[in-house]
């Protein structure tokens, strides 16, 4: 170990430039701003009403943060998740913040998944542009001026989160959001078994009785959400609320292996509840 001790001594004698402290502080400042922008986007998704207020306040803060093209592979076993497309740009009043994942692994499953993500992204970007154009048309048709229009902005966000991963299995979420006078958000979940080259199902995780197990867990959590005044965000089955899970129920796999069912906004509860999530255990 002597040789290494010598080498380490040399390494530790690399002189530290005086400006390092300033540069770290500068990085902290930039990082805080960038994170706030991200969090603000997230908050804005929570409800259309909240979105309206926050957006009105933040209209003039242009949140374009230089975003070095990230190509950071997430730790992998048989596979990697790469940020395939990553950019932030402002064009024509629309602020885009796009981080699109791509799965790299053997087998045709990942190709299908990547193609599906790509297709969904294209559809969302196109829809966003359409919504925005329609809004602009309506804005001028109702007497808005060019000057007023220029103050308007829309945020379009594509982002993803790795929920969990093992050597052979990965679970991740892709979020598409559009936020202007109304917020719209769609989440997609992908649970891949790369050893077997197929999607993981709730039946794989919970066994034969997955429907009963899931329904019992969800119903118990809905029942528990009722407060002392008898109020809950969740609709009753008669109002179109939760009845049963099926093969199309979206879920992700938590780090401890527990599947978590996710329902779209407004589907089984008031919009203020966001996208309700239920651990199935």
């Amino acid at each position: 170990m002597n040789k290494f001790d010598e080498a380490r001594k040399e390494y530790e004698s690399i002189p530290i430039p005086a400006e390092l402290g300033d540069r770290v502080q500068e990085g902290i400042r930039q990082g805080r701003t960038a994170r706030r922008t991200r969090l603000r986007h997230r908050r804005m998704w929570l409800s259309a009403a909240a979105c309206f207020t926050v957006l009105a306040v933040s209209l003039n803060i242009s949140p374009t943060i230089a975003h070095a093209a990230a190509n950071v592979p997430v730790l992998g076993g048989l596979f990697e998740i790469l940020t395939f497309v990553s950019y932030e740009k402002s064009e024509d009043g629309i602020n885009y913040s796009v981080d699109v994942p791509q799965v790299e692994a053997e087998g045709d499953l990942t190709e299908k998944v990547n193609a599906a993500i790509q297709e969904t992204m294209d559809r969302h970007l196109e829809q966003a542009q359409k919504d925005w154009d329609g809004y602009r048309e309506a804005f001028f048709a109702t007497g808005g001026t060019e000057e007023e229009w220029n103050d308007r902005e829309m945020d379009v966000i594509v982002d993803y989160t790795i929920k969990s991963q093992t050597d052979t299995r990965i679970s991740f979420e892709v979020v598409f959001a559009e936020c202007w006078v109304a917020a719209r958000e769609e989440r997609y979940y992908y649970n891949l078994d790369l050893a077997e080259n197929r999607n993981v199902t709730l039946q794989d995780l919970l066994g034969e009785d997955w429907v009963e197990i899931s329904n019992a867990a969800i119903q118990a959590q809905i029942d528990a959400s009722v407060d002392a005044d008898g109020f809950t965000y969740f609709f009753t089955p008669e109002e179109g609320g939760f009845t049963t899970v099926d093969a199309d129920t979206a879920f992700y796999i938590r780090e401890d292996g527990v599947p978590v069912a996710v329902f779209p906004e407004y589907s089984i509860a008031a919009g203020a509840a966001g996208c309700p999530e239920f651990p199935l255990q």
Binding site: E10, Y11, E12, S13, I16, L20, I28, Q30, V74, T161
Partner: protein, 161 residues
């Protein structure tokens, strides 16, 4: 998400900044580039801190970011200017000219050099190194052995695990 978590992360980044700089410098051998790499890594860490689920893993999590930025910088540099010219443009070269082993370590391929540096300079465990580099434990081990072999260091003396 909470504010205390943010200030803990910031405190860690400030306290360990000299280590980050040295690691970055050992890749880039260029003062300005190393400063840039540290600043970018700090910025990205704060921005993405919600992806850090286990606060105890902050070191491996941050090194993962930093090492990737250094490797990206090396890749970009290859495309832009010859390395020799770039090194001359650096303000100083603090590696002592007779530092045999340190020189040899610098000359290793990046993937192997990373393992050696993290193991012996930063004293990370092999498991931690596999997290930092995003490769599995066996890959890390074989890179470590390959590196030691190249450096002609008897493995008996070195504590590997």
């Amino acid at each position: 998400m909470s504010i205390p978590a943010e200030s803990t992360l910031e405190a860690y980044l400030v306290a360990e900044q000299a280590k980050f700089y040295r690691l970055a410098y050992s890749y880039l051998h260029h003062q300005e580039d190393a400063l840039d790499a540290v600043q970018t890594a700090v910025c990205r860490a704060l921005e993405r801190q919600d992806s850090l689920r286990d606060p105890h893993a902050v070191r491996t999590w941050f090194y993962h970011i930093l090492v990737n930025i250094c490797l990206d910088t090396l890749r970009q540099r290859k495309r832009i200017v010859p390395l020799s010219e770039w090194e001359e443009a650096g303000r100083e070269d603090p590696m002592p000219p007779d530092g045999h082993l340190a020189r040899q370590i610098d000359a290793l391929p990046a993937a192997v050099g990373t393992v050696i540096k993290l193991r012996f300079y930063e004293e990370l465990s092999l498991k931690e190194i596999s997290v930092v580099t995003g490769s599995n434990l066996n890959t890390v081990k074989s890179r470590l052995y390959a590196g030691l072999k190249k450096l002609r260091i008897s493995m008996e003396g070195a504590e590997i695990e």
